[in-house]
């Protein structure tokens, strides 16, 4: 069940990378969801880079996180690590939209630490 849901997300993700965005095409405001590992957090520019991808074909997705976007999720409360409460290695789910050809985060959710 859970697997199937995430797989659907990967599908949307792949579509968006190609600029195909099948379901999203008629409505530019439709959100994209990415789930991946944080690669870098740039405090100054408010930029977040995620590692996503399929199999061994990994990809980086860069997005900006406007000030005011809070990190949700259990482990994030009061986190001192990164500016947005996330740090490299964290697994996050980010809902974002496209603006001016760039991805802008609307919601960043830190997922349970896994082992």
């Amino acid at each position: 069940m859970k697997q199937a849901a995430v797989f659907a997300i990967t599908g949307v993700l792949a579509g968006s990378l190609a600029g195909v965005a099948q379901q999203a095409a008629p409505q530019p405001a439709v959100p994209y969801t990415y789930q991946g590992t944080v690669h870098s957090v740039q405090a100054k520019t408010g930029t977040l880079e995620l590692i996503t991808g399929v199999g061994h074909a990994l990809r980086l997705v860069r997005m900006s996180v406007p000030t005011g976007v809070r990190v949700a999720g259990t482990a994030a409360a009061g986190a001192s690590g990164g500016v947005m409460g996330v740090q490299p290695g964290d697994v996050v789910r980010v809902v974002c939209h496209r603006a001016g050809g760039r991805l802008v985060a609307d919601k960043v959710e830190k997922l349970e630490p896994t082992r």
Binding site: F7, H56, A57, L58, R115
Partner: protein, 382 residues
């Protein structure tokens, strides 16, 4: 942990149930419908298709077809290609170096890319902390491994070695947090994702699941070098390939004589089966031939610390020394052993086991020669 005796009984039962019908390396699963067999055959044609730059190959690639690497003794088997992976392990966090073209570093370029950049291979990532060599494994029976429920894999995990047997398997996680099981480092959660990714990482063939090419060491592909429109194969071709791979049967172990049967007991007795779990059972599937089946997997699909001599790259949560217990399905078709092919024989592979497997290795080495020989006879039947 299931008792070795019960596993052996299950094995016998599974064998008896299948009657005398035998799956040879490269054969499809028993019990496929006619339509599924037809898709298996058509899928093999895509798996074996040789791509050219005109049909989507490259601009970076390791080989021209799945079946160019996975070819021996049949499509889906092993091959002599050895590929290069690279990552960086810093402060306990693994960086797959996507920004520098990692983790798969392609060893060939198309003529157009070579002309544009003057390179024969993707540049090795400057930030890499290790280089990994990866031999081509057999991929028989992976459709069955794909359907072993996560809960079963987790049931074998013992990250803190609570039972004090010196063996502490743990799961790897994909970059999105899901439990992984495919690849030597068990990064990839599903067979389909592994296959979809392989088209791009190995052949530079984009597809509906991975519609973007690899970068050249993290930099975009120069204009005009890859004129074929993405995706370079369609959903139908991708689905057929996936059906071929998931319908590849696990070769039936050869019939054991007295020596082999003794070897099988020794395998359990000296602790090989603590990681190489003899039997796993698949869960639900719309495909009857894959559903609720016992597979002589000889793996727990978990990561184990194998010691500093085998260590190379990190990947996901896997540290440099951690590797997934290699399934021993179709071992008789394997030509060189361990992740980089360093071992020429199964004996040598066992001798190279370290870390959590050091106890089992030492017990193997302490066996009288006849018992060692029996164990090897058993391994060669797989």
């Amino acid at each position: 942990m299931s008792s070795p005796g019960a596993a052996a009984a299950l094995w016998l039962a599974a064998f008896a149930f299948a009657g005398c019908r035998v799956v040879k390396p490269g054969d499809p699963l028993l019990g496929l419908t006619r339509e599924q067999r037809d898709r298996f055959e058509r899928g093999r044609a895509v798996f074996d298709s040789v791509f050219t730059p005109e049909t989507g190959l490259g601009p970076l690639f390791n080989s021209t077809a799945c079946g160019e690497c996975h070819e021996d003794p049949k499509s889906g088997g092993t091959g002599d290609e050895v590929e290069v992976h690279a990552t960086a392990f810093r402060g306990g966090v693994c960086d797959p170096l996507v920004q520098e073209g990692g983790p798969v570093i392609q060893q060939h370029t198309t003529p157009a890319l070579k002309q544009a950049l003057g390179i024969d291979a993707e540049p090795f990532p400057p930030s890499a902390t290790a280089r990994a060599m990866r031999t081509t494994p057999v991929i028989f029976g992976r459709g069955l491994l794909d359907l072993v429920p996560d809960s079963v894999i987790l049931s074998y995990a013992d990250p803190d070695d609570k039972n004090h047997d010196g063996i502490s398997g743990r799961v790897n996680r994909n970059v999105d947090g899901r439990i992984g099981r495919f690849g030597r480092k068990a990064l990839v959660p599903t067979l389909r994702e592994f296959n979809d990714g392989a088209f791009v990482a190995e052949q530079g063939v984009t597809n509906p699941s991975v519609p973007t090419e690899e970068t050249i060491g993290g930099k975009p592909i120069p204009g005009g070098v890859d004129p074929v429109a993405d995706p370079e194969i369609n959903q139908d071709q991708l689905d057929l390939t996936n059906d071929f791979v998931r319908f590849l049967g696990a070769p039936t172990p050869e019939r054991l004589g007295g020596e082999g049967r003794r070897g099988r007991e020794i395998f359990s007795r000296i602790g090989c089966a603590a990681c190489h779990v003899p039997m796993l059972r698949t869960g639900a599937s719309p495909v009857a031939a894959l559903r609720s089946k016992d597979v002589a997997a000889y793996t727990d699909l978990l990561l184990h610390d194998m010691g500093p001599d085998l260590a190379d790259i990190c990947l996901g949560l896997a540290t440099p020394a951690e590797f997934r217990t290699e399934p021993l399905i179709g071992l008789r078709s394997v030509k060189t052993f361990l992740h980089d092919g360093r071992a020429a024989t199964p004996e040598q592979a066992i001798q190279d086991h370290g870390g959590e497997a050091a106890g089992a290795r030492d017990r193997f080495q302490a066996l009288p020669p006849a018992e060692r020989q029996a164990l090897i006879a058993f391994l060669k039947s797989l």
